[in-house]
Amino acid sequence: MAPDRREFLAQSGKLLVLTSLASAAWEYVLAGTPEDAPGYRLDAHWWGMAIDIERCIGCGNCVRACKTENDVPLEAAYFRTWVERYRVPPIDPQHPQVEPNPEVDSPNGGYDGFPDKDPRGEGWKTFFVPKLCNHCAHSPCVQVCPIGATFESPDGVVLVDKKRCLGCRYCVQACPYGCRFIDPRTHTADKCTLCYHRITRGLTTACCEACPTGARLLVDLKNPNDPVHAFLKNNSIQVLKPNMATGAKVYYRGLDGAVR
C-alpha cells in the first residue's frame, strides 16, 4: 500500500535533515580541524626525532597510530613510518673473513608487530629499527621537486603540498631512505609530516604518543630545555646513512652498523 502524503512528507523531511547533517559533518571531517594553530611561531622551533633502539619492542603501535591518525592507505606498500627487524648473525670463527649478512624483515611494515619470534639461536643479535622521514635539513627530495611542491618548512619539517604536486615521483627516487610513496588515492607524493597538524598545537606525534616504551621522542632542537640536548650529549648517536650528507634529523641511540 502506498504511504499517505503526511507520512511521505515527514519521512522526506527527516531524510533531508539527516542528509544535510551528514554532509556538513563530512565536510568538517574532510577539512580537518579548521582552526589555525594560534600562537605558533615557525621561527621558534626546529623539529626532529630521537629514537632509542634499545627501547623499541617491535609492537607496531607507532605504525598503527600513524596510519590511523594520518589516513595512510592500509596496503603493505604505503608507510609514513614502519619498523624493521634486524637479525645479525655472529661471525663464524671458522670463516671470520666472511662478513655476516643481516637478515632484515618488516612484515606489513611492522603494522601487526612481529608475532613470529623465530629465535635464530646463540650469538645472533636481534633488534628493531623504527623508521620515518628524516626531515633532512638538506633534503634530496626537496632539491629535485620540479615545482617546489615539497618543501622544508621554516621549523624544519619536510612537507608536501598535495594541491600542487605533479606526481612525477622524482622525490620518491631521490629519497635515500625509502620514506616516500605515491598515495594511490590522490596520485601525489606522501610522507611523514611529523604530525604537523598536532605539533603546531603543542601535541606530540601520533607515533610518539602511542609508543609504550618511550622509544620515540619528538624533539625541538631550538628549545634549550628540550631533553634532546641531554640525549645527544650523553649517548652515542647516529643518523641513517650519514654518508648521504642530508642533514638527517632523526637521531638514533644504539644504531648498529648493520642498519641501512
Binding site: 603493505a76 600542487r164 625509502g178
Partner: protein, 395 residues
C-alpha cells in the same frame, strides 16, 4: 599487491616495493636520444661540411622534429596530475634538474629545430605556396609567415642564419640529452644512477641511436621510393656510427670497470642484479647483441672489401641491433635502477601491464607516433628531390 610482494626477494624498504618509473620513462630518454643523435648527424653537414651526408640532411632534421614532438608525451602520461604540468613553466623550482626540462625542450624545439627546418625549406615553401593546391597551399602560405621574398641575397642570409643555428644547435643537442643523463646521474640515493659519467654516456648513446635511426630510415625510405640509396652517404654514416659507438662503448666499459674495481657498498647488490634479473637485457641484449655485434659488423665491412649489397645488409642489421641495444640501455638504467633496494638487501620485479596508462600498449603507440608524424612531415616537406638528384639541403 600480492603479485608485487611475491616478486620481492630479500628485504626492500616497504615503500620501495612498487616501481615508480615505468616503461614510459624508459621511452623518454630513448626518444630524446634519437632527437639529439639525428640532429648531430645533420649538423655534420652544416658545421663540418661533411657533404657526403647531404642526402640525409633534411631527413635527419625532420626525424629529430618528429621524435621531439613526441618526447614529452610519455612524461605527461606518467604524471599523477598531468593537468598541473604547466606549473613547471610557471613556478619552476630552480634547484631541481627536472624543472629545467620544459625550458631546454622549448629552446631546442622552437629556437633551434623548427627555425632551422624553416630556413632550410623557406625558398621552397614560398614556391609551393604559389603552386600547391588545396589545404597544402594554405599550409604553405601560413608557413611563409608572410615573407615571400626569395632572392639570392635573402637566401644567403637564410643560409648564414641556418649555419649559426646549427652551431648553437650542437651544444643545445648536447644540453638536451646530457641534461636527461643528469636527471639520473645526480640522484645520489641511487648508486646505479649516480655517476658523473651518466650525462656523457647518455649523450654518446644518443648520438649512436640517432645515427642508426637515420641510417635505417634512409635505407627503408629509399626502398619505398624504389631509388638506390647514395652508397657514399651510407658508408660515411656508418663510419660515424662506428666512431660514436667506440666512444660510447669505451665510456660504458670505463663505468663498469670503475664500479668493479672500486667495489663500494652497493657493489654486491648491483653485481647480483646484473647476474640475475638484468642478465638478459644488460649483458645479452645491450652489451653483446646491441653493442659488440654491431661494432664488429661495422668494423668488418670497413676493413674488408665487400659488395654494396653486403654492406647495405650489414648496415641494416647493425642499425636495427643498435636501436634495440640502446633501448635496452635505457631500460637497464631506468628499470634496473629500481629493481634493487636502497638498503642493498633485496630486489623487486617489474611487472608490466599491457593495457594500462603506463603499460606496454601506450608505449608501443608512443613509439609508432613519431613515424606517423614523420610521414606527415615528409608529405608536407619532402626531404628528397625525386625529380632530380637527392635534395641538396641548404643552398
Amino acid at each position: 599487491m600480492h603479485d608485487i610482494l611475491a616478486g620481492v626477494q630479500g628485504f626492500m624498504y616497504p615503500n620501495e616495493i612498487e616501481l615508480q618509473w615505468s616503461i614510459l620513462i624508459v621511452l623518454y630518454p630513448y626518444l630524446t636520444g634519437l632527437v639529439a643523435g639525428a640532429f648531430i648527424l645533420a649538423s655534420l653537414v652544416e658545421v663540418l661540411d661533411v657533404h657526403a651526408l647531404k642526402p640525409t640532411y633534411r631527413l635527419a632534421l625532420l626525424t629529430a622534429l618528429a621524435f621531439l614532438i613526441v618526447a614529452p608525451l610519455p612524461l605527461q602520461m606518467h604524471l599523477g596530475h598531468p593537468e598541473r604540468s604547466l606549473s613547471m613553466y610557471l613556478t619552476p623550482h630552480r634547484e631541481s634538474a627536472m624543472a629545467m626540462f620544459g625550458f631546454v625542450y622549448l629552446w631546442y624545439l622552437m629556437a633551434v629545430l623548427v627555425l632551422e627546418i624553416w630556413l632550410d625549406y623557406r625558398a621552397q615553401i614560398v614556391e609551393w605556396s604559389k603552386t600547391a593546391t588545396g589545404w597544402k597551399r594554405w599550409a604553405y602560405k601560413a608557413m611563409t609567415l608572410g615573407v615571400d621574398e626569395v632572392t639570392p641575397r635573402s637566401r644567403e642570409i637564410d643560409h648564414k642564419l641556418q649555419r649559426f643555428l646549427t652551431i648553437i644547435g650542437i651544444p643545445s643537442a648536447f644540453l638536451l640529452h646530457g641534461y636527461v643523463g643528469f636527471i639520473f646521474g645526480s640522484i645520489k640515493a641511487n648508486p646505479w644512477w649516480s655517476t658523473p659519467l651518466m650525462p656523457i654516456v647518455f649523450l654518446f648513446s644518443a648520438i649512436v641511436s640517432g645515427i642508426a635511426m637515420i641510417l635505417l630510415l634512409y635505407m627503408v625510405l629509399s626502398w619505398f621510393r624504389q631509388r638506390a640509396p647514395d652508397m657514399r652517404c651510407l658508408d660515411v654514416t656508418a663510419s660515424f656510427l662506428l666512431a660514436a659507438f667506440i666512444v660510447d662503448f669505451g665510456l660504458e666499459m670505463l663505468d663498469l670497470i670503475h664500479r668493479i674495481y672500486e667495489a663500494d657498498e652497493s657493489f654486491h647488490a648491483l653485481d647480483f642484479m646484473v647476474r640475475t634479473q638484468l642478465y638478459l637485457p644488460h649483458i645479452v641484449i645491450q652489451i653483446m647483441l646491441g653493442t659488440i655485434v654491431p661494432i664488429l659488423l661495422l668494423g668488418f665491412v670497413k676493413l674488408v672489401k665487400v659488395s654494396e649489397a653486403a654492406r647495405k645488409g650489414a648496415y641494416a642489421v647493425a642499425a636495427v641491433l643498435t636501436l634495440i641495444g640502446i633501448f635496452a640501455m635505457r631500460w637497464n638504467v631506468v628499470i634496473g635502477g629500481q629493481l634493487f633496494s636502497k638498503s642493498f638487501l633485496g630486489y623487486t620485479t617489474y611487472k608490466m601491464e599491457l593495457v594500462h596508462r603506463e603499460g606496454l600498449l601506450p608505449a608501443i603507440l608512443l613509439m609508432i607516433l613519431p613515424f606517423v608524424i614523420l610521414w606527415f612531415l615528409t608529405r608536407l616537406l619532402p626531404p628528397f628531390d625525386d625529380h632530380g638528384a637527392e635534395a641538396k639541403g641548404g643552398l
